[in-house]
Symmetry: C2
Subunit: 388 residues, 2 copies
């Protein structure tokens, strides 16, 4: 069941909802959970229905949906789909295995576990209407995610505005012309497509765009799955944000030459000490930012902080993915069809870690829906205690 | 004019020549200059003849040949091809424009200018037989390159042996089992395919292999042109060196987890202060090596040092290449044909710098045919004065 989306503006804007198709949505009138199949972007924008809990598992593990916040919300709807149409006794006996299967789809993003724990707690407290309760919980997570992203975007945009104003002042003091743009580098896709709406790193961009800061975004292509080239470029193009695609190797050179003013990335899991686990390669950009005195911000909803862990490097499980993601790549061929080509010699051994950990010492600040905080134990402990 | 090479072992081994087809060779009996067309590797190994100086220009600019040392030698043969069959008066009047066209093919590698200067000087000193003199100079450069690479390989292998022995001692002191392998990361292709034979960084590997050090090489795929995935993996496979392909994003993570013992890369141009210009992304790996206390060596023939420059970051011209190298990629399709696919949304703006500069402070040493020297002004001045 799929439908081509003709334009990326199907849904009326709510309070915090941007005027674009949501990455995942529930159509209450016909009881359908619908996602954008991100494996087909940027060449096709296709919506598919998730009909079963197994569909939700497949969507997460095959990366039709990806991004820590979106994985969490999708898993929540997956619980509902697993219990839908079952009587309460059956639903009760099924719920543990449904949740277990969803939890096993991907190991690194903490939101997955966080969302499932929330639903599990809710189900444990209730006697009846379990499917309805799971749906209600999923819808709440869905709404909360939109609001959290919109809010952290505002905090981040305020910081970008300060950086932009400081850049203008430096130019004026040096007797140089006013700068043309604020150049922000991002890695992977921490955009609307990684959440329900707005995104995390890109929420900061979109909210800064709304303040009329003249932005230009450097987009890391983000091998091996090229979420930067395929998803971030597409999303920024849809929303009219000027951007330039670069290979992952290029960011250091651009920073050395003053072509990047700030880095903003997302996070799949952040620890109590402020270590940030994000898409493989993030650490290299953080090193280059530190070496060149460039602010390096991480934008994340509080739901992606794992307060139970301290050291990111030793404690966060890093997903290893299939060799084919490195040895082969998909794109649009000369006849306009999506096809796959082999890059390396046949039989070449491949290693494919999905994430790395950026130590807190390299992070300028964590942009959350509760404000921008330092990436250190004191600030994170305070945040943890404030929401306990 | 091309010929499929059936095996990679056509030519008898000379003193310093490895038992493999040379990347560029002159067949004196039939007066032919022949190269391996590297744009068709790893899926096909094809030799093509360079018949004219324009063929040599095309081979360099289209990257049928690439790698600083090989570019220099190819340009030298290009001068010969431009003068071949001409009487001396015509050859004299042509030589400046032939050299100028070859010099303009690529801006970053200094060997190109260095080789052409050598020939130009030689031609200026002679009255007659200019074509013959150009050929003789090219053949000398060809032989010198093989010898330089073999020698720097020996120096580097000695250093790897020391690192390997130290690794064993550390394990023994910690009561751990003896290590299984010495893990070396390399970026791009600084192999036999980047030179006439042996390579620079990979000469170190091959000479270490000959010492029976149990090596394992992590190969950065090296976007955008994937010289690591396509050339280094192919070359290491041909020579039986265990290796694993990774995306450029992965090296930092591997270093954080103790999976890399040493980095060895090549250089397109090195300055008097020891700054190293090499394939884009090298700087990011050097930062990660420094952050994790891992030695970072650069292997290079003295011909690639530009003693006339001091600061790499401000003085070395960095080539910008076509957007299509980033937005599109070639590989083997399902039917076994080499075909190209588009990765980014149509019309996406792309930036494509070919090289970056690693500051001397991040370089553990320069491995040259004259020994391993510090990457600093004192050592490089001494080297310069010793060869003046």
């Amino acid at each position: 069941m799929e439908a081509m989306i003709e334009s990326f503006s199907g849904i009326p804007a709510g309070a915090n909802q941007s005027p674009h198709t949501l990455t995942i949505r529930f159509d209450a009138e016909v009881d359908r959970v619908v996602i954008i199949d991100q494996t087909r972007l940027p060449h096709e924008c296709v919506e598919v229905e998730l009909k079963t809990s197994a569909d939700a598992c497949h969507a997460i593990s095959s990366m039709q949906v990806r991004g820590a916040p979106l994985i969490g919300v999708t898993a929540a709807f997956g619980v509902y789909l697993g219990l839908r149409g079952k009587d309460d006794e059956t639903a009760r006996s099924l719920s543990a295995s449904v949740i277990e299967a969803l939890a096993a789809t991907r190991p690194t993003a903490i939101n997955l576990r966080w969302a499932l724990d929330k639903i599990e707690t809710r189900l444990a407290r209730c006697e009846k209407n379990l499917a309805e309760i799971a749906l209600q919980a999923a819808l709440e997570l869905h709404a909360e995610d939109i609001n959290a992203c919109a809010m952290l975007g505002e905090y981040g945009a305020q910081r970008l505005q300060e950086i932009w104003e400081a850049k203008g002042e430096r130019a004026a003091q040096a007797g140089l012309p006013a700068p043309e743009s604020l150049n922000v580098l991002t890695h992977c896709n921490a955009g609307a497509l990684a959440t329900v709406d707005w995104g995390t790193a890109l929420a900061v961009i979109y909210k800064a765009q709304a303040r009329a800061i003249p932005l230009h975004v450097w987009v890391d292509e983000t091998r091996p799955r090229n979420q930067g080239a395929s998803l971030t470029c597409w999303e920024l193009g849809q929303r009219g944000v000027p951007h330039t695609l670069i290979v992952d190797n290029a960011g250091g050179h651009l920073m050395q030459h003053g072509l990047i003013d700030c880095c903003v990335v997302g996070s799949d899991r952040t620890t109590l000490l402020g270590d940030v686990c994000n898409k493989i390669g993030t650490y290299l950009k953080a090193l280059a930012a530190a070496d060149n005195g460039i602010p390096f911000y991480v934008a994340l909803p509080v739901s992606s902080i794992d307060f139970s862990l301290r050291e990111g490097l030793t404690e966060i499980p890093i997903e290893e993915r299939a060799a084919e993601e490195v040895s082969h790549i998909s794109g649009l061929d000369d006849e306009g069809r999506v096809s796959r080509v082999q890059l390396a010699p046949t039989g070449t051994a491949v290693s494919n870690y999905g994430f790395d950990v950026t130590p807190a010492r390299l992070v300028s600040g964590l942009i959350t829906e509760r404000g921008i905080i330092d990436a250190d134990e004191a600030a994170l402990t305070k945040l943890r205690d404030s929401i306990a």
